[in-house]
Symmetry: C2
Subunit: 127 residues, 2 copies
DNA sequence: GCTTGAGCTGGAGTGCACTCCAACACCTAT
DNA sequence: ATAGGTGTTGGAGTGCACTCCAGCTCAAGC
């Protein structure tokens, strides 16, 4: 696979893939005779995993650190586990925040609905 | 209340409060004889609400738009409700993403734990 | 009456995470 | 053999959301 196909399959741009390589998120792939990047299939799974971390708010610097540990092999297993445990706690905190705000949205939406029903009755109190 | 106390009570910096006023998130408060901002208590609730939207990923531009609608009064009720409904859907999508990734973290953490148990047995497969 | 502390303005600077570009090289199909 | 598509590099630029700063005014306490 060359960079365009990886881009197409992952939804990232070729620029982003090169950028990820530059900062160490993705290991430098092999090159063909013309100097173009040639990726192997497993990188797709890795990129998907990185996207999961990204989508759930892990910072770039931490993803870079995790990627570096991974490249260093099995000896870093405990360190990586700790990073994932930390991220797990971060995810749970977000779940709580989101659940709370979801309930708030429901209350406010219901408020707006009744306000629209009885237009001008209660007035438009707050927020 | 002047700006320092609002900062203390909300956790935002005075700079951020002035910035929020500049972009229209917070209505310009009254001023005392010395030209200093004097806030009334209800602004605290509004700021807390803004922080909820912020913490759950509503973009600044959208918060500004919501704030603008709110200042325009009851006539904009329907538009605001629609914004909250949209944000509600956004929150639910995030909940799904987080729940999925939480499960993934659990699987990977368990993997790492068994790898640490049987060091060198299975090898350190992926991600 | 002077220091201390809080606040004021306008504008520059920061950190993050990309995103775009110019100028060039190479492969494939017509 | 030439046009079009895909790739290369290094470096500059973007958008978001603040954050910091210089140089100033003001008010209150000792």
């Amino acid at each position: 696979m060359q960079i365009g196909e990886v881009a197409r399959r992952t939804g990232l741009s070729a620029d982003t893939l090169r950028f990820y390589e530059k900062i160490g998120l993705i290991a430098p792939p092999a090159r063909d005779q013309a100097g173009r990047r040639v990726y192997d299939a497993p990188v797709l799974g890795w990129i998907r995993f990185l996207e999961q971390l990204n989508a759930t708010g892990m910072k770039q610097a931490d993803r870079v650190q995790y990627a570096a540990l991974r490249r260093q092999g099995p000896a870093t297993s405990a360190a990586r586990r700790q990073m994932l445990e930390r991220h797990r706690r971060h995810i749970q905190a977000q779940l709580e925040q989101l659940t709370e705000t979801l309930a708030l949205m429901d209350r406010k939406i219901a408020d707006y609905e009744s306000t629209e029903q009885a237009m001008g009755q209660t007035g438009d109190s707050d927020e």
